[in-house]
Symmetry: C2
Subunit: 233 residues, 2 copies
Protein backbone atom coordinates (compact mmCIF):
# COMPACT_ATOMS: atom_id res chain seq x y z
CA UNK A 1 0.00 0.00 0.00
CA UNK A 2 2.53 2.58 1.11
CA UNK A 3 5.31 3.42 -1.29
CA UNK A 4 8.02 0.85 -0.99
CA UNK A 5 11.79 1.13 -1.13
CA UNK A 6 11.97 2.81 -4.52
CA UNK A 7 14.64 5.03 -3.18
CA UNK A 8 15.53 5.97 0.35
CA UNK A 9 14.41 9.51 -0.27
CA UNK A 10 10.87 8.48 -1.13
CA UNK A 11 10.61 6.18 1.82
CA UNK A 12 11.85 8.68 4.37
CA UNK A 13 9.74 11.43 2.86
CA UNK A 14 6.63 9.33 3.03
CA UNK A 15 7.28 8.24 6.59
CA UNK A 16 8.14 11.67 7.88
CA UNK A 17 5.34 13.33 5.95
CA UNK A 18 2.85 10.89 7.35
CA UNK A 19 4.12 11.43 10.87
CA UNK A 20 4.02 15.19 10.52
CA UNK A 21 0.54 15.38 9.09
CA UNK A 22 -0.63 12.94 11.72
CA UNK A 23 0.37 15.54 14.26
CA UNK A 24 3.05 13.34 15.77
CA UNK A 25 5.23 16.41 16.09
CA UNK A 26 3.06 19.31 17.19
CA UNK A 27 3.60 22.63 15.44
CA UNK A 28 6.53 24.50 16.88
CA UNK A 29 8.50 21.42 17.82
CA UNK A 30 11.95 21.16 16.31
CA UNK A 31 13.75 18.30 14.65
CA UNK A 32 17.45 18.14 14.02
CA UNK A 33 18.82 16.73 10.80
CA UNK A 34 21.53 14.67 12.49
CA UNK A 35 18.95 13.16 14.76
CA UNK A 36 16.69 12.29 11.87
CA UNK A 37 19.61 10.79 9.99
CA UNK A 38 20.25 8.52 12.94
CA UNK A 39 16.62 7.59 13.44
CA UNK A 40 16.16 6.57 9.81
CA UNK A 41 19.67 5.19 9.46
CA UNK A 42 20.38 7.19 6.35
CA UNK A 43 22.94 9.83 5.53
CA UNK A 44 22.42 13.51 6.20
CA UNK A 45 22.28 13.97 2.44
CA UNK A 46 19.01 12.10 2.20
CA UNK A 47 17.54 13.85 5.21
CA UNK A 48 18.47 17.26 3.88
CA UNK A 49 16.73 16.56 0.59
CA UNK A 50 13.65 15.30 2.37
CA UNK A 51 13.59 18.36 4.60
CA UNK A 52 13.87 20.60 1.59
CA UNK A 53 10.84 18.97 0.02
CA UNK A 54 8.91 19.09 3.27
CA UNK A 55 9.87 22.73 3.46
CA UNK A 56 8.54 23.31 -0.04
CA UNK A 57 5.25 21.89 1.17
CA UNK A 58 5.31 24.37 4.02
CA UNK A 59 5.14 21.54 6.50
CA UNK A 60 8.35 22.62 8.17
CA UNK A 61 10.75 25.49 8.19
CA UNK A 62 14.48 25.06 8.47
CA UNK A 63 16.52 27.74 10.16
CA UNK A 64 20.15 27.92 11.06
CA UNK A 65 21.18 27.40 14.61
CA UNK A 66 17.65 26.36 15.55
CA UNK A 67 16.71 23.34 13.46
CA UNK A 68 13.74 22.16 11.50
CA UNK A 69 10.61 23.52 13.11
CA UNK A 70 7.15 22.19 12.37
CA UNK A 71 4.78 24.77 10.97
CA UNK A 72 1.21 25.30 12.12
CA UNK A 73 -1.38 23.31 10.21
CA UNK A 74 -2.86 26.43 8.67
CA UNK A 75 0.24 26.80 6.54
CA UNK A 76 0.45 23.31 5.00
CA UNK A 77 0.34 23.18 1.24
CA UNK A 78 -2.90 21.25 1.28
CA UNK A 79 -3.19 21.14 -2.50
CA UNK A 80 -0.22 18.86 -2.81
CA UNK A 81 -1.68 15.42 -3.55
CA UNK A 82 0.85 13.82 -1.26
CA UNK A 83 -0.20 15.97 1.66
CA UNK A 84 -3.80 15.07 0.92
CA UNK A 85 -3.03 11.38 0.87
CA UNK A 86 -1.10 11.59 4.11
CA UNK A 87 -3.84 13.46 5.87
CA UNK A 88 -6.53 11.22 4.48
CA UNK A 89 -4.68 8.31 6.00
CA UNK A 90 -4.49 10.04 9.35
CA UNK A 91 -6.86 10.71 12.17
CA UNK A 92 -8.83 13.77 11.15
CA UNK A 93 -9.93 12.21 7.90
CA UNK A 94 -13.57 13.27 8.33
CA UNK A 95 -12.82 16.96 8.53
CA UNK A 96 -10.36 16.68 5.69
CA UNK A 97 -12.81 14.83 3.54
CA UNK A 98 -15.46 17.41 4.21
CA UNK A 99 -13.38 20.43 3.29
CA UNK A 100 -12.21 18.70 0.14
CA UNK A 101 -15.75 17.84 -0.82
CA UNK A 102 -16.87 21.40 -0.27
CA UNK A 103 -14.10 22.50 -2.59
CA UNK A 104 -15.29 20.01 -5.16
CA UNK A 105 -18.83 21.28 -4.81
CA UNK A 106 -17.64 24.75 -5.67
CA UNK A 107 -15.38 23.83 -8.53
CA UNK A 108 -16.77 20.82 -10.34
CA UNK A 109 -20.13 22.29 -11.33
CA UNK A 110 -18.43 25.27 -12.93
CA UNK A 111 -15.94 22.95 -14.59
CA UNK A 112 -18.76 20.79 -15.94
CA UNK A 113 -20.45 23.86 -17.37
CA UNK A 114 -17.27 24.84 -19.13
CA UNK A 115 -16.75 21.28 -20.28
CA UNK A 116 -20.10 21.36 -22.02
CA UNK A 117 -18.86 24.11 -24.26
CA UNK A 118 -15.24 23.06 -24.63
CA UNK A 119 -15.19 19.27 -24.68
CA UNK A 120 -13.83 17.64 -27.80
CA UNK A 121 -15.79 14.80 -29.39
CA UNK A 122 -13.12 12.45 -28.09
CA UNK A 123 -13.66 13.74 -24.56
CA UNK A 124 -17.41 13.35 -24.91
CA UNK A 125 -16.86 9.75 -25.95
CA UNK A 126 -14.58 9.08 -23.00
CA UNK A 127 -17.06 10.68 -20.67
CA UNK A 128 -19.89 8.47 -21.83
CA UNK A 129 -17.67 5.45 -21.70
CA UNK A 130 -16.63 6.07 -18.11
CA UNK A 131 -20.21 6.81 -17.07
CA UNK A 132 -21.29 3.50 -18.55
CA UNK A 133 -18.38 1.85 -16.81
CA UNK A 134 -19.69 3.25 -13.55
CA UNK A 135 -23.12 1.83 -14.24
CA UNK A 136 -21.65 -1.56 -15.07
CA UNK A 137 -19.64 -1.76 -11.86
CA UNK A 138 -22.10 -0.11 -9.53
CA UNK A 139 -23.49 -3.36 -8.12
CA UNK A 140 -22.10 -6.37 -6.41
CA UNK A 141 -19.28 -4.84 -4.38
CA UNK A 142 -16.99 -4.03 -7.31
CA UNK A 143 -15.89 -0.92 -5.49
CA UNK A 144 -12.37 -0.92 -6.90
CA UNK A 145 -13.49 -1.12 -10.49
CA UNK A 146 -16.13 1.50 -9.86
CA UNK A 147 -13.53 3.78 -8.33
CA UNK A 148 -11.40 3.62 -11.46
CA UNK A 149 -14.27 4.79 -13.64
CA UNK A 150 -15.37 7.40 -11.14
CA UNK A 151 -11.90 8.93 -11.02
CA UNK A 152 -11.55 8.81 -14.79
CA UNK A 153 -14.94 10.45 -15.24
CA UNK A 154 -14.20 13.41 -13.03
CA UNK A 155 -10.75 13.75 -14.51
CA UNK A 156 -12.19 14.01 -17.99
CA UNK A 157 -14.69 16.65 -16.89
CA UNK A 158 -11.99 18.72 -15.25
CA UNK A 159 -9.69 18.36 -18.25
CA UNK A 160 -12.45 19.15 -20.71
CA UNK A 161 -13.20 22.38 -18.88
CA UNK A 162 -10.21 23.77 -20.71
CA UNK A 163 -9.09 25.49 -17.55
CA UNK A 164 -5.67 24.53 -16.34
CA UNK A 165 -6.39 25.12 -12.67
CA UNK A 166 -9.45 22.93 -12.81
CA UNK A 167 -7.61 20.28 -14.75
CA UNK A 168 -4.94 20.07 -12.11
CA UNK A 169 -7.55 19.34 -9.47
CA UNK A 170 -7.93 15.95 -11.10
CA UNK A 171 -5.30 14.52 -8.80
CA UNK A 172 -6.96 16.05 -5.77
CA UNK A 173 -10.32 14.60 -6.68
CA UNK A 174 -8.68 11.28 -7.35
CA UNK A 175 -7.19 11.29 -3.87
CA UNK A 176 -10.55 12.14 -2.35
CA UNK A 177 -12.41 9.42 -4.18
CA UNK A 178 -9.72 6.86 -3.52
CA UNK A 179 -9.53 7.94 0.09
CA UNK A 180 -13.20 7.61 0.77
CA UNK A 181 -13.34 4.21 -0.89
CA UNK A 182 -10.29 2.80 0.81
CA UNK A 183 -11.21 4.09 4.21
CA UNK A 184 -14.72 2.75 4.26
CA UNK A 185 -16.33 6.16 4.21
CA UNK A 186 -18.81 4.77 1.75
CA UNK A 187 -21.79 2.49 1.44
CA UNK A 188 -21.39 -1.05 0.20
CA UNK A 189 -22.59 -0.06 -3.25
CA UNK A 190 -22.52 3.44 -4.73
CA UNK A 191 -25.71 5.48 -4.52
CA UNK A 192 -27.75 4.59 -7.64
CA UNK A 193 -28.96 8.17 -7.91
CA UNK A 194 -25.38 9.41 -8.15
CA UNK A 195 -24.60 6.87 -10.85
CA UNK A 196 -27.56 8.06 -12.88
CA UNK A 197 -26.50 11.65 -12.45
CA UNK A 198 -23.09 10.87 -13.88
CA UNK A 199 -24.68 9.38 -16.96
CA UNK A 200 -26.85 12.46 -17.32
CA UNK A 201 -23.86 14.77 -16.98
CA UNK A 202 -22.17 12.92 -19.81
CA UNK A 203 -25.34 13.39 -21.79
CA UNK A 204 -25.59 17.10 -21.05
CA UNK A 205 -21.97 17.68 -22.02
CA UNK A 206 -22.46 15.77 -25.24
CA UNK A 207 -25.46 17.93 -26.02
CA UNK A 208 -23.53 21.10 -25.12
CA UNK A 209 -26.06 21.99 -22.46
CA UNK A 210 -23.82 23.90 -20.07
CA UNK A 211 -26.50 24.94 -17.61
CA UNK A 212 -27.78 21.40 -17.25
CA UNK A 213 -24.29 19.94 -16.90
CA UNK A 214 -23.54 22.44 -14.17
CA UNK A 215 -26.77 21.82 -12.33
CA UNK A 216 -26.46 18.05 -12.48
CA UNK A 217 -22.91 18.18 -11.23
CA UNK A 218 -24.05 20.40 -8.41
CA UNK A 219 -26.49 17.67 -7.47
CA UNK A 220 -23.72 15.09 -7.47
CA UNK A 221 -21.69 17.30 -5.19
CA UNK A 222 -24.46 18.01 -2.71
CA UNK A 223 -25.23 14.31 -2.72
CA UNK A 224 -21.65 13.53 -1.81
CA UNK A 225 -21.81 16.12 0.91
CA UNK A 226 -24.99 14.64 2.33
CA UNK A 227 -23.45 11.20 2.24
CA UNK A 228 -20.56 12.54 4.27
CA UNK A 229 -22.93 13.87 6.89
CA UNK A 230 -24.25 10.38 7.39
CA UNK A 231 -21.01 8.45 7.27
CA UNK A 232 -18.48 10.83 8.79
CA UNK A 233 -19.91 12.67 11.78
Amino acid sequence: MTTQAQGLHTHVLDTLGLALTAGEYPPGSVLRTDELAQRFEVSRTVIREVVRVLESMHLVESRRRVGVTVRPTAQWNVYDPRVIRWRLAGSDRPRQLRSLTVLRSAVEPVAAGLAATHATPEQCRELTEEALGMVATSRGGQLEAYLVHDIAFHRVVLNASGNEMFARLGDVVAEVLAGRTHHQVMFEDPDPAAVTLHVQVAEAVRERDAARAEELTREIATGALRELDVLAP
Copy 2:
Protein backbone atom coordinates in the same frame (compact mmCIF):
# COMPACT_ATOMS: atom_id res chain seq x y z
CA MET B 1 12.24 42.17 -6.74
CA THR B 2 13.43 38.63 -7.19
CA THR B 3 14.57 36.80 -4.09
CA GLN B 4 18.14 37.72 -3.35
CA ALA B 5 21.05 35.73 -2.02
CA GLN B 6 19.29 34.46 1.10
CA GLY B 7 20.85 31.11 0.52
CA LEU B 8 22.24 29.57 -2.62
CA HIS B 9 19.45 27.07 -2.68
CA THR B 10 16.75 29.73 -2.89
CA HIS B 11 18.57 31.61 -5.58
CA VAL B 12 19.19 28.62 -7.81
CA LEU B 13 15.66 27.34 -7.25
CA ASP B 14 14.17 30.67 -8.24
CA THR B 15 16.34 31.01 -11.31
CA LEU B 16 15.80 27.49 -12.53
CA GLY B 17 12.11 27.54 -11.72
CA LEU B 18 11.67 30.75 -13.63
CA ALA B 19 13.56 29.39 -16.59
CA LEU B 20 11.58 26.17 -16.62
CA THR B 21 8.17 27.78 -16.36
CA ALA B 22 9.20 30.26 -19.03
CA GLY B 23 9.58 27.30 -21.32
CA GLU B 24 13.30 27.81 -21.72
CA TYR B 25 13.73 24.07 -21.60
CA PRO B 26 10.90 22.47 -23.57
CA PRO B 27 9.21 19.44 -22.04
CA GLY B 28 11.19 16.30 -22.64
CA SER B 29 14.57 17.97 -22.64
CA VAL B 30 17.04 16.67 -20.11
CA LEU B 31 19.36 18.43 -17.73
CA ARG B 32 22.27 16.85 -15.98
CA THR B 33 23.06 17.71 -12.39
CA ASP B 34 26.80 18.06 -13.00
CA GLU B 35 26.12 20.45 -15.83
CA LEU B 36 23.77 22.53 -13.71
CA ALA B 37 26.30 22.57 -10.89
CA GLN B 38 28.84 24.01 -13.30
CA ARG B 39 26.47 26.52 -14.82
CA PHE B 40 25.45 27.91 -11.44
CA GLU B 41 28.87 27.47 -9.91
CA VAL B 42 27.53 25.62 -6.92
CA SER B 43 28.10 22.15 -5.59
CA ARG B 44 26.11 19.15 -6.67
CA THR B 45 24.56 19.10 -3.21
CA VAL B 46 22.75 22.35 -3.83
CA ILE B 47 21.62 21.31 -7.28
CA ARG B 48 20.33 18.00 -6.02
CA GLU B 49 18.22 19.69 -3.37
CA VAL B 50 16.87 22.14 -5.91
CA VAL B 51 16.05 19.33 -8.30
CA ARG B 52 14.24 17.46 -5.54
CA VAL B 53 12.05 20.48 -4.87
CA LEU B 54 11.43 21.02 -8.57
CA GLU B 55 10.56 17.36 -8.73
CA SER B 56 8.09 17.75 -5.88
CA MET B 57 6.43 20.47 -7.93
CA HIS B 58 6.22 18.04 -10.82
CA LEU B 59 8.20 20.41 -13.00
CA VAL B 60 10.85 17.80 -13.66
CA GLU B 61 11.44 14.13 -13.16
CA SER B 62 14.79 12.70 -12.21
CA ARG B 63 15.74 9.23 -13.38
CA ARG B 64 18.93 7.30 -13.09
CA ARG B 65 21.15 7.01 -16.11
CA VAL B 66 18.99 9.47 -18.00
CA GLY B 67 19.02 12.73 -16.10
CA VAL B 68 16.51 15.34 -15.07
CA THR B 69 13.80 15.51 -17.69
CA VAL B 70 11.38 18.39 -17.97
CA ARG B 71 7.76 17.37 -17.59
CA PRO B 72 4.93 18.51 -19.85
CA THR B 73 3.17 21.64 -18.70
CA ALA B 74 -0.01 19.76 -17.96
CA GLN B 75 1.70 18.15 -14.99
CA TRP B 76 3.05 21.23 -13.20
CA ASN B 77 1.84 21.69 -9.64
CA VAL B 78 0.09 24.93 -10.54
CA TYR B 79 -1.27 25.45 -7.04
CA ASP B 80 2.16 26.06 -5.62
CA PRO B 81 2.38 29.82 -5.09
CA ARG B 82 5.94 29.84 -6.34
CA VAL B 83 4.96 28.21 -9.60
CA ILE B 84 2.21 30.77 -9.96
CA ARG B 85 4.59 33.64 -9.36
CA TRP B 86 7.09 32.26 -11.84
CA ARG B 87 4.50 31.81 -14.52
CA LEU B 88 2.93 35.17 -13.86
CA ALA B 89 6.32 36.71 -14.47
CA GLY B 90 6.72 34.81 -17.72
CA SER B 91 5.35 35.13 -21.18
CA ASP B 92 1.96 33.48 -21.08
CA ARG B 93 0.77 35.63 -18.23
CA PRO B 94 -2.57 36.41 -19.89
CA ARG B 95 -3.66 32.81 -20.16
CA GLN B 96 -2.40 32.10 -16.67
CA LEU B 97 -4.20 35.07 -15.24
CA ARG B 98 -7.39 34.04 -16.96
CA SER B 99 -7.42 30.48 -15.67
CA LEU B 100 -6.65 31.70 -12.16
CA THR B 101 -9.43 34.23 -12.32
CA VAL B 102 -11.88 31.59 -13.51
CA LEU B 103 -10.87 29.51 -10.52
CA ARG B 104 -11.47 32.47 -8.26
CA SER B 105 -14.86 33.03 -9.82
CA ALA B 106 -15.82 29.49 -8.94
CA VAL B 107 -14.43 29.46 -5.43
CA GLU B 108 -14.72 32.90 -3.91
CA PRO B 109 -18.49 33.30 -4.18
CA VAL B 110 -19.03 30.03 -2.37
CA ALA B 111 -16.41 31.01 0.18
CA ALA B 112 -18.12 34.35 0.73
CA GLY B 113 -21.43 32.60 1.28
CA LEU B 114 -19.85 30.36 3.88
CA ALA B 115 -18.09 33.32 5.44
CA ALA B 116 -21.43 35.00 5.99
CA THR B 117 -22.45 32.19 8.27
CA HIS B 118 -19.10 31.41 9.87
CA ALA B 119 -17.27 34.69 10.25
CA THR B 120 -16.37 35.72 13.78
CA PRO B 121 -17.13 39.29 14.88
CA GLU B 122 -13.42 39.94 14.70
CA GLN B 123 -13.33 38.79 11.10
CA CYS B 124 -16.33 40.96 10.27
CA ARG B 125 -14.50 43.90 11.71
CA GLU B 126 -11.36 43.17 9.73
CA LEU B 127 -13.41 42.77 6.60
CA THR B 128 -15.04 46.16 6.97
CA GLU B 129 -11.72 47.70 7.81
CA GLU B 130 -10.02 46.35 4.71
CA ALA B 131 -12.95 47.34 2.53
CA LEU B 132 -12.73 50.87 3.84
CA GLY B 133 -9.02 50.77 3.29
CA MET B 134 -9.70 49.90 -0.33
CA VAL B 135 -12.04 52.84 -0.64
CA ALA B 136 -9.48 55.17 0.89
CA THR B 137 -6.72 54.10 -1.48
CA SER B 138 -8.79 53.67 -4.62
CA ARG B 139 -7.90 57.03 -6.10
CA GLY B 140 -4.76 58.85 -7.00
CA GLY B 141 -2.56 56.00 -8.16
CA GLN B 142 -2.01 54.43 -4.74
CA LEU B 143 -2.02 51.03 -6.37
CA GLU B 144 0.41 49.45 -3.92
CA ALA B 145 -1.55 50.48 -0.86
CA TYR B 146 -4.77 49.40 -2.53
CA LEU B 147 -3.25 46.04 -3.33
CA VAL B 148 -2.44 45.41 0.31
CA HIS B 149 -6.04 45.95 1.36
CA ASP B 150 -7.39 43.99 -1.58
CA ILE B 151 -5.26 41.00 -0.72
CA ALA B 152 -6.12 41.25 2.95
CA PHE B 153 -9.82 41.49 2.17
CA HIS B 154 -9.93 38.36 0.06
CA ARG B 155 -7.75 36.53 2.52
CA VAL B 156 -10.16 37.28 5.34
CA VAL B 157 -13.11 36.09 3.28
CA LEU B 158 -11.36 32.85 2.42
CA ASN B 159 -10.27 32.30 6.00
CA ALA B 160 -13.69 33.16 7.39
CA SER B 161 -15.28 30.54 5.16
CA GLY B 162 -14.08 28.05 7.73
CA ASN B 163 -12.96 25.75 4.96
CA GLU B 164 -9.32 24.84 4.98
CA MET B 165 -9.01 24.37 1.25
CA PHE B 166 -10.53 27.76 0.58
CA ALA B 167 -8.36 29.36 3.21
CA ARG B 168 -5.24 28.02 1.58
CA LEU B 169 -6.18 29.69 -1.68
CA GLY B 170 -5.40 32.98 0.03
CA ASP B 171 -1.82 32.76 -1.18
CA VAL B 172 -2.96 31.96 -4.70
CA VAL B 173 -5.31 34.93 -4.78
CA ALA B 174 -2.57 37.11 -3.35
CA GLU B 175 -0.25 36.08 -6.17
CA VAL B 176 -2.94 36.83 -8.73
CA LEU B 177 -3.73 40.25 -7.38
CA ALA B 178 -0.09 41.14 -6.93
CA GLY B 179 0.70 39.77 -10.37
CA ARG B 180 -1.93 41.79 -12.16
CA THR B 181 -0.94 44.96 -10.34
CA HIS B 182 2.77 44.56 -10.85
CA HIS B 183 2.48 43.63 -14.46
CA GLN B 184 0.28 46.47 -15.52
CA VAL B 185 -2.68 44.27 -16.28
CA MET B 186 -4.85 46.87 -14.61
CA PHE B 187 -6.29 50.30 -15.08
CA GLU B 188 -4.65 53.30 -13.47
CA ASP B 189 -7.18 53.31 -10.69
CA PRO B 190 -9.29 50.35 -9.58
CA ASP B 191 -12.80 50.08 -10.96
CA PRO B 192 -15.04 52.11 -8.60
CA ALA B 193 -17.84 49.60 -9.04
CA ALA B 194 -15.59 46.84 -7.78
CA VAL B 195 -14.60 48.88 -4.76
CA THR B 196 -18.22 49.44 -3.88
CA LEU B 197 -18.95 45.76 -4.26
CA HIS B 198 -16.25 44.92 -1.76
CA VAL B 199 -17.82 47.25 0.77
CA GLN B 200 -21.17 45.62 0.16
CA VAL B 201 -19.74 42.14 0.60
CA ALA B 202 -18.37 43.17 3.97
CA GLU B 203 -21.81 44.46 4.80
CA ALA B 204 -23.56 41.29 3.69
CA VAL B 205 -21.19 39.11 5.70
CA ARG B 206 -21.69 41.28 8.75
CA GLU B 207 -25.44 40.91 8.36
CA ARG B 208 -25.09 37.14 7.84
CA ASP B 209 -26.74 37.37 4.45
CA ALA B 210 -25.08 34.41 2.76
CA ALA B 211 -26.97 34.58 -0.50
CA ARG B 212 -26.20 38.24 -0.97
CA ALA B 213 -22.54 37.83 -0.06
CA GLU B 214 -22.27 35.04 -2.59
CA GLU B 215 -24.02 36.99 -5.32
CA LEU B 216 -22.00 40.16 -4.75
CA THR B 217 -18.76 38.22 -4.82
CA ARG B 218 -19.87 36.59 -8.03
CA GLU B 219 -20.25 40.08 -9.46
CA ILE B 220 -16.76 41.01 -8.36
CA ALA B 221 -15.43 37.90 -10.06
CA THR B 222 -17.25 38.42 -13.34
CA GLY B 223 -16.11 42.02 -13.26
CA ALA B 224 -12.51 40.90 -12.90
CA LEU B 225 -13.02 38.47 -15.75
CA ARG B 226 -14.45 41.19 -17.97
CA GLU B 227 -11.58 43.45 -17.10
CA LEU B 228 -9.21 40.73 -18.21
CA ASP B 229 -10.96 40.48 -21.55
CA VAL B 230 -10.19 44.12 -22.11
CA LEU B 231 -6.66 44.27 -20.83
CA ALA B 232 -5.25 40.84 -21.63
CA PRO B 233 -6.35 39.70 -25.09
